[in-house]
């Protein structure tokens, strides 16, 4: 039962690039060893909205994780212990993605039903306009 998570963490701004990649690869390996998938992107240095610790800027890193809850718990524990990481936030996204998927499917099915100019279509508004535009070229060569 794999769940999808979004983990964003902030690293202190005076961190070297290679140390950052080393840290990210450590975290990724801890997830993949528990049979999960990760994808990470580094947002770069950004100004923080308020002072965190002693810093006004930070390097933002986003990780998209698909793993069990225990694996993410382990990653969080590591982040808490790592000294350069000053803040992190984990958001569970699978319910949200499921909901978005459902909405998208609903919209696609409505669009498909209205694209066919057949009667008994569920969407009331769009078939009328499509049928009107389909009928007018047929009725043009009258006069």
């Amino acid at each position: 039962m794999n769940r999808t998570y979004e983990l964003m963490f902030i690293v202190r701004p005076d961190m070297v690039d290679e140390e950052l990649t080393k840290l990210i690869s450590t975290l990724e390996s801890s997830v993949t060893s528990a049979s999960g998938t990760t994808k990470s992107e580094v947002w770069g240095k950004r100004r923080l909205a308020y002072r965190v610790g002693k810093f006004n800027d930070g390097i933002f890193v986003l990780m998209l994780i698909e793993a069990t809850g225990a694996a993410v718990h382990e990653v969080e524990r590591r982040l808490r212990v790592t000294e350069p990481v000053i803040k992190f936030l984990t958001v569970r996204t699978d319910e949200e993605l499921k909901r978005l998927d459902k909405i998208k499917k609903l919209r696609d099915s409505k669009k498909k039903a209205s694209a066919q100019p057949a009667a008994a279509a569920p969407a009331p508004v769009t078939p009328a306009t499509v049928e009107a535009s389909a009928e007018t070229p047929a009725s043009a060569p009258v006069s």
Binding site: R47, A49, Y50, L89, V91, E96, L100
Partner: protein, 115 residues
């Protein structure tokens, strides 16, 4: 004079306009009626504000898009109420959740303007 004693009887309501059995302009109206002090205190439903998310069909409000979230946050850092922005209830709930997440990850300030 005799007029003064009769005058308070004929006018039970002082504010709110013509209809006396409404709850008055203080009720939380989704239409953006004369509730807020910025509206000018005119009749009901002066400006029909539409929910920005419903119009543009934005389903997911992510805590990461700070530019979108910052539109719904006042200068003081507080979340603007629904009756001023015209957002519908489910979107306002998601928006407020996203703003709070963004505050936690230092993308938006808790108080004061974002530097």
């Amino acid at each position: 004079m005799a007029e003064e004693t009769k005058a308070p009887e004929s006018r039970p309501e002082r504010t709110g306009g013509d209809r006396p059995d409404r709850s008055g302009p203080r009720g939380p109206r989704p239409g953006g009626g004369p509730g807020g002090p910025r509206e000018g205190g005119r009749k009901f439903f002066r400006r029909k504000k539409v929910c920005k998310f419903c119009v543009e069909k934005i389903e997911a409000v992510n805590y990461k898009d700070v530019r979108l979230l910052a539109q719904f946050v006042a200068e003081s850092g507080k979340i603007t109420p629904r009756r001023l922005t015209g957002v519908c209830t489910p979107h306002q709930r998601r928006l407020s959740r996203a703003i709070k997440q963004a505050r936690n990850i230092a993308l938006l300030p808790f108080a004061g303007r974002a530097q």
